[in-house]
Symmetry: D2
Subunit: 366 residues, 4 copies
């Protein structure tokens, strides 16, 4: 019951601080004989990597992942896979002037209150750098899923920055890789570029909403109550730093629907059941329907900003703080590959759980 | 890793179907020597019990809880507490005409696809009756919390029905017990009464948003990454039937805030740190700040309605369905005590985890 | 991490005290669509049931098991299976005179020291009655194994009573059901009958060694390190009341062997690998070889005896105690079906785990 | 439910193969603010390290442990502690000639049968090198225990080599560090030296029995059923490579005792309850009594020997094998610090669990 682990059969335990020698993930329960090379993981880390454009922190990190165990002659062995990422650009001095002050909106104060530890080096374990380990672990999950569910496609993208939501009528999957915000709406991308640039220059930051869609999920993944597929997805997303809300399908908006509107009607196709709509987000009663699995999560704005904020120090003195450091004006951007990685881990976990308990999808329709 | 359990130290496993002989909860990890009598649990079950007014299903259930183990001479022993609730008013015949059809928006089809089981008796395990077991378990957690955190107050209430949100300026805790919707806004209660009555008569249903607030939570509860206090609260709420979205503090709205707006400023009082606002919902970096812990969740409308919907049957034939049965026009009403119960379970779990790992709150301020 | 649960995918949580209203097991993770009727479980409970002959406690218990959930129309649903056994013959008065005294060799004193609870009604949770719940759960595991591994045979038997071991040259599986001691050695049965009768009449008790063999276990069950098949078997057996030692294959005797003697040589047959001997007990590196899986465990003598023993009471006064009650002169007899049940649970758990992670036995020889 | 993890609150997940780049342990749940430096762990690794005398494998490994996370300014932070040990002397070529053959008594064949993986480089995950990670993790547990239970003493020693048991009348704790076998009987040490030398020269190996005693364990640690202190100790010891049997207190010998002999009588002292004997091994009903906690485990002889043995290869051909490599004539010697480490991990886990659920030892006597 480590509080640094998640997953039931495919388990991931992340470790490491933002300014220690290294961080990583201990991944267990992966099926054996899955082809796995560092490059397969590196591609996802590079997507999350900071310093790639002016919209993300200028911290320079290679984020090069090493596979220390669990792979032999290029294939997984079924044993624990240890993934290590060395920290290279630490520059702790950036943080020395806030050594005794608590940054508002940051975990500094609660870590101190709980553990009596003040890791002033960028927040240590609460740093967004922890998500690099998730992305590496997610890369392992993706390779296993590639062999188990070849038609599965997991795609994350930004659907809102600040109060500026995308226009769903502009939705184009092909646009996602074409802009620094991973958004499917080219117009929104242009608009956000100006908006975020102004915020960045003013030393401020802003929140965002990320959507992650999994296409090609078979029906029957999940469980009835506490191990619901959507519960596990919500858990995975809510555990990402700075996430304050999670939605499945209609999400919070489900409150505004009537039963008549919400109940996705079912029809029969030669491929099996099809639905008139997807308010369920691809999950009914905690179990996948075969429709797209759709979740969204809100990322709060970075709390480390250049604006002066009132706070206190360890001695209890009231003071003010400006966090210099190097931070993301919209950390939601880099949350996109993290959300994809978490979705991959949850889906693999449930594929293995289902295979273990049920063996194969048993109910036939038609 | 039972998918029917939750909690790390204070663990709850619920069991039972809506139309079997009984359902209940196996509760383990409760501290010993806590005074516990069935009446202490019954009060919460009575709050959730159906048939109390025209806004909830007319199914008549005593929902009388029996304590089968773990209590000796009126005090917990530290051993598993088995809570059993007999099903009394089953009337399975109500469901016989939908035996082979799948209700849109309901788990019928996914349970069939996963398990090859079609429990037509009201959905079996996916019925909202499962939440009775949560409420009973939550009652145990409340009694343990009463002795560990005497100042703790957990309160759930409805803040939105359909698209009708409460007016926060009308917020009055004393109103919550004064209306059938558990809402703190008396005006909203009056408005919702008419609205829901019309929906009910038309055989339709509607969604809602419930908010659960915990006052008097000490700082230092939670953990840094996957065992975050807010992650565990989100997990607990998302696992409740029909919940499609969960928010902590500013929730999805955090996306619209700037870092300057979001960062709750910190001041010093004679009682310790105080904050200018509570966008964090009482949790920073997964650990409680000492502010009110605030979460919200959206409950979708009941999928069993009197409106005819298109669907298919087990043979794959397209057909239509009207679900007669006895259902809640706004199942969100009865989700209020369920949300409170889940909050109680999560908080007790983290109180015990914190005491186990850290012993006592260690960081001193001032 | 309930300390009253075991198993990873097939999980069993037992609950209940010897003198409460009922006890039972919450069984989760069972595959769906397994035929299950109470009679299938009752046959094993009847084998463990007390009062069947003069060698077991005269307490009269029907030990009738009820299935409260997880079964619909005679088949498992994949949901939690709640098994309840009512206590009928409680006669707490038998214990009233030892209310404040601690029985030497019994858990009375440690439960008091840990929990501050003194359940004088026969030891409450530490009573051997807890094992009835294990036997019921094991019955569920057997039915699932019957469909997954039809050739599997699990057999427990007594190989030593006091210092009287069986003569392996007399070993006859057919004898096991022919005597009250479940021993495969008819001569030992005759000898033990006189021996135990004398002990019983003198108010004394004696220990025993039970062996449990699983024939027809496929190769490939288990895991490399902490989830070793033999580790999980040892855990399961050591968790049975009164067990003080566990052995796999050569067991403690492995210490006396040389590497040359211990290394079971491997030959090839048309059915696959065969071995010259089975010092490994059917497990190498934590994974099954396909040979018989063999374990033994030692059960200490019942601590509740008619002999006067020196002890103390809650006030710390030194005193003496004679435990009247109704006890087993050799509780090891009734441990036989318990050991079988635990073996069944562990094997099913590993069958499901293997299917989940690996899918199917992958390495081919020849 | 990783099968490479153990512990409930203090959790250890080991990773790595004998011939990969590194191996280690991910340790979570450690209390914060415990002083921890690599040297504190290195002392125990040096005790286990191979090549220290002619009685252990001549493989040269520095076994230098690095702390990659969870420690800040010399104190634990309460976050995961990543311990890494680089493999330096791998010499895989030693194994190249057995690439397709399965070593009798070794995990080669079962790993192949389960995973379809043949890591011929010294058995990969099944190598005794995995125990280095346990020793490092145990070092962390010892430092935490030092602050929580200052009077605790954990001592492991060899009590039997082959069929040569120590003479308990020679037992002297001070002798343990004075001989290469960690035995408290100086005469046995002299005898074993000749015996093992002859075995080693003949290319053979032999088994051994290790005893681990914990003095100063408070009463009240453990749990009633599946989380028994002695069950968890048995689990921990049985999970060590090559262990085939585990005993608590009287162990397998408990079978030979009568109830009268076995029931340790209780007296009162000014320090609390004292016992006339310790057949229980310091545990009653799964909970510690305050007496010494005593366990023993049998280590089978190394299966990699210079004696030719019959076996088969991957193609199913019958053949013979001689394992050259560099192996331990009595691997039990190096199991001593491993057993100590496992005892430390189990005790810390239960100290934290007890503090979490119960808070403090509650039952008072006298």
């Amino acid at each position: 019951m480590s509080t640094n682990s998640f997953g039931r059969m495919f388990t991931v335990t992340t470790w490491g601080e933002s300014h220690g020698p290294a961080l990583g993930a201990t991944v267990d329960g992966c099926p054996p004989n899955i082809a796995l090379e560092p490059e397969m993981l590196q591609q996802w880390l590079d997507k999350r990597k900071p310093g790639q454009n002016k919209y993300t922190t200028q911290r320079q990190e290679a984020d090069a992942v090493e596979i220390l165990s669990g792979v032999f002659e290029g294939r997984t062995t079924g044993m624990p896979i240890q993934l290590m990422i060395r920290n290279t650009d630490q520059r702790s001095k950036d943080y020395s002037d806030i050594m005794d002050k608590f940054r508002p909106g940051h975990a500094d104060i609660t870590y101190w209150q709980k553990y009596g530890i003040r890791d002033y080096r960028g927040g240590g374990r609460s740093s967004a750098r922890e998500t690099a380990a998730r992305v590496a672990a997610g890369g392992v999950a993706r390779e296993a899923l590639r062999s188990l569910l070849p038609d599965l496609r997991i795609t994350g993208y930004m659907v809102q920055m600040g109060d500026r939501a995308i226009d769903r009528s502009n939705f184009d999957y092909n646009q996602i890789e074409q802009n620094p915000f991973w958004t499917p709406d080219a117009q929104a991308a242009a608009d956000w570029a100006d908006y975020l640039d102004r915020l960045r220059k003013s030393g401020n930051s802003v929140g965002a909403i990320i959507e992650v869609t999994a296409r090609g999920v078979p029906s029957g993944l999940g469980a009835p109550v506490y191990g619901k597929l959507d519960t596990d997805i919500a858990t995975a997303m809510m555990s990402i730093n700075a996430v304050k809300g999670v939605e499945i399908g209609a999400g919070m908006g489900a409150a505004t629907l009537t039963g008549e509107q919400n109940a996705d009607e079912i029809y029969m196709s030669d491929k099996g059941p099809v639905y008139s709509s997807n308010h369920s987000g691809g999950v009914l009663g905690g179990i996948s329907t075969g429709q797209d699995v759709v979740c969204r999560f809100a990322v709060k704005p970075t709390s480390s900003i250049l604006k002066s904020r009132k706070t206190i120090d360890k001695a209890g003195n009231e003071t003010e703080i400006i966090t210099k450091g190097r931070h993301d004006p919209c950390v939601g951007i880099r949350a996109v590959p993290v959300g994809e990685a978490m979705m991959a881990c949850v889906l693999l976990d449930h594929v293995l759980l289902h295979r273990g308990q049920v063996g194969e999808n048993q109910g036939r329709i038609g």
